[in-house]
């Protein structure tokens, strides 16, 4: 009996404390909901609306009919029409499209002569899911409405996977994993680094010395930029040595992209540190950033497969943009110039987060 009342005392105390720890309480309620939504929206192998460009060199009635049927599958979303397969390759490299449809000028003849492929699908093979979807397109039944048509089954469509012809998973995973690892460590390190000093009382000492807020921030952030660079080198080395993941583009471009990305994450970490009161809270907040960075960034599931709302959320995350950069540079030999929009976002994100952190930090001193 006494034991029971003691257990009840502990139990009541736990519930009482939990109710007053709003962030933990928020995690109890929020985490299942957020996880369900994230996974529910993100896990979607029924990929639709893949950005696609068409190079219709035949320009015939039949070829246009084929393109219309392709569009009706809703698997592709035709965003551009170009003249040559070379232009399709350019768009693929820039990451603007996932599929390029090339229709040769003798299309009408080829659909009769099934020994040659009538259509070429140029596919960004770095994402196996997209490649699988493109493979399914080959089975697409086409029924031309011309008088002499007989049901001749699927058209002879040739799929040309680009960038990952062996279809190996590490080639797709490693560039994205780089972003996930850096997100986790960079945000957590900075958030905790400042909160720890506040918790231990060091901050009260520091702000009473001639050190300015800016000096303090810079001094705290720079070591972590270096740590991020070391982590990047480690991931690249392991990827190359153990998993044979290529870096087709320039290493310098990759490091430039990583610098912008690390800066964005460190600024976000600094901002979180102004909101968190304890190291534990800083870790909880990091989890809330990390989860969508894994699920909604295109790292695990194709970005195009997610509903619009989830895509908007994903667009706000630095990791989404970094993954586009790393996949572009490492796998598709794209340059920073091809992907400048992603860099611009990362720099803008850094400026906004840094300003917000600095504004909040000066307030916290008072």
């Amino acid at each position: 009996m006494k034991s029971l009342s003691r257990i009840m005392a502990i139990l009541r105390k736990e519930v009482r404390q939990l109710r007053r720890d709003h962030l933990t309480f928020g995690m109890v309620i929020g985490l299942p909901i957020v996880q369900m939504l994230l996974f529910g929206y993100a896990i979607n192998t029924d990929v639709r609306n893949l950005p696609t460009a068409v190079a219709n060199q035949a320009g015939t009635h039949l070829s246009r009919q084929f393109v219309a049927e392709l569009e009706q599958t809703q698997v592709v979303d035709i965003i551009d029409h170009v003249d040559s397969p070379q232009q399709l390759e350019g768009l693929l490299r820039q990451g603007k499209i996932s599929i390029g449809v090339h229709i040769p000028h003798d299309f009408d003849r080829r659909i009769v002569d099934t020994s040659r492929s009538a259509v070429h699908l140029l596919v960004d093979g770095s994402d196996p899911t997209i490649l699988a979807v493109a493979m399914q397109l080959r089975m697409m039944p086409v029924s031309f409405d011309s008088a002499n048509s007989v049901d001749r089954g699927p058209l002879p469509i040739e799929v040309r996977p680009y960038y990952n012809p062996e279809r190996r998973t590490p080639v797709n995973i490693v560039p994205g994993l780089m972003g996930v690892i850096l997100t986790m460590t960079m945000i957590l390190f900075t958030a905790v680094a400042i909160v720890r000093e506040r918790e231990r009382g060091n901050l009260e000492l520091l702000i009473n010395t001639p050190v300015s807020s800016a000096e303090l921030m810079i001094g705290k952030v720079v070591p972590y930029i270096l740590i991020g660079m070391i982590q990047l080198a480690l991931i690249l080395a392991v990827g190359r040595l153990l998993f044979d993941v290529p870096v087709r583009g320039s290493i310098l471009d990759l490091y430039l992209a990583a610098t912008a990305f690390i800066a964005a994450n460190l600024s976000l970490g600094l901002f979180l540190s102004t909101a968190a009161k304890t190291q534990f809270q800083a870790m909880q907040m990091t989890v809330f950033i990390l989860l969508p960075s894994i699920l909604l960034s295109g790292f695990m599931f194709p970005f195009e497969g997610m509903p619009k709302f989830a895509q908007w959320l994903g667009e706000l995350l630095p990791n989404t943009h970094f993954i586009r950069l790393t996949r572009g540079i490492m796998l598709r030999d794209a340059g920073i110039g091809d992907l400048y929009a992603e860099i611009v976002f990362l720099i803008g994100f850094t400026i906004v987060a840094m300003t917000a952190a600095a504004l909040r930090f000066t307030k916290r001193l008072d």
Binding site: E204, L205, P210, D366
Partner: protein, 313 residues
């Protein structure tokens, strides 16, 4: 140009929401003296010190600290003050030497003199043997000596110490105070907050704070003479019953038990207080005697922090 006061505060006030932590504080801290803030926890000592070093912005009022206006550009003030936080705020995962070196760098202490200055401080504050020890693993007294060494490293003319002795043993407290006297003799102005009476007694001057307001200030001797109270000491076999009897006397300000003795405060407008107290005790049939005593600092503290309703009673 230079005022004779290191700190002059005029109507300094700080509110946190509805709570008035410091209320219209006037202070004059003479240069080269040890000035004490005496008050219970929550009386506004820490908040006042934080306002004076520019860490908190006053809600109302102003202060001049070492000829720098507060609120104003606290940046100019930072190199001129040494500050010791209530809680140990140095880096526990760095050694004594590393902490001192860090502080020297932060204050841009001249590189050439740095090494000699650090050695001097290690020696003066008895930390030579601990130089390689992690600060977090030291005793309370050692941590406090390191904190003092760090706060005086850059030769600040003003030291602000927030309850520096709250976590150390009596011997360490005595050593700490002799170090403070040495600094004061060398011309440093020291503002120190405490809730220990014996420490308050050592200050050149002190201010007693209660609920954010200054209720008395002056030298300890001054304060003891001007309590406005008769202090009577009662020895009783049954101090508990004696306390009940005395408390019932009209106009009694306070009765405090100290072992078998009672300290009784009565307003000095009451005539012949000893006779009144003795009469009541004998009337109740108690074996007790009352004699007139002189005010200790603790009596002063009790007298000035009495609740207004008790004071009127």
């Amino acid at each position: 140009m230079n005022s004779e006061f290191a700190i002059e505060a005029r109507g300094l006030t700080k509110r946190f929401g509805d709570l008035e932590a410091v209320s219209h504080l006037h202070l004059d801290v003479p240069r080269g003296q040890i000035y004490g803030f005496l008050g219970p926890n929550g009386s506004g000592k820490s908040t006042t010190i934080r306002m004076l070093c520019g860490l908190l912005t006053p809600t109302e009022g102003s202060a001049t600290v070492l000829d720098t206006e507060i609120p104003g550009d606290a940046k100019l003030l930072k190199p001129k003050i040494g500050y010791m936080t209530q809680k140990f705020s140095l880096f526990g995962d760095m050694t004594v030497l590393e902490n001192l070196q860090f502080i020297a760098e932060i204050y841009s202490f001249p590189t050439r003199e740095r090494k000699a200055r650090i050695e001097e401080l290690l020696d003066r504050y008895n930390l030579v043997e601990q130089r390689k020890q992690l600060a977090g693993t030291m005793s309370g007294g050692q941590k406090q000596r390191l904190a003092l060494a760090c706060s005086v490293l850059h030769h600040p003319p003003l030291l602000l110490l927030d309850e520096p002795t709250s976590a150390v043993d009596p011997q360490s407290r005595r050593d700490f105070w002799s170090a403070l006297f040495r600094l004061a003799e060398a011309g440093t102005t020291i503002l120190v907050s405490t809730h220990y009476m014996d420490e308050a007694e050592r200050c050149h001057r002190l201010a007693i704070l209660d609920h954010g307001a200054k209720v008395a200030d002056g030298t300890p001797a001054d304060l003891q003479q001007k309590t406005g109270m008769h202090v009577i000491e009662v020895r009783a076999d049954d101090p508990y019953r004696a306390q009940a009897v005395i408390s019932a006397i009209p106009r009694i300000a306070s009765v405090t038990q100290l072992g078998v003795r009672l300290r009784v405060l009565l307003p000095d407008t009451v005539d012949d207080p000893v006779a009144i107290v003795n009469g009541e005790l004998q009337g109740a049939g108690l074996d007790a005697t009352a004699i007139l005593s002189t005010a200790s600092l603790e009596d002063v503290f009790v007298a000035v922090t009495l609740k207004p309703n008790r004071r009127a009673a």
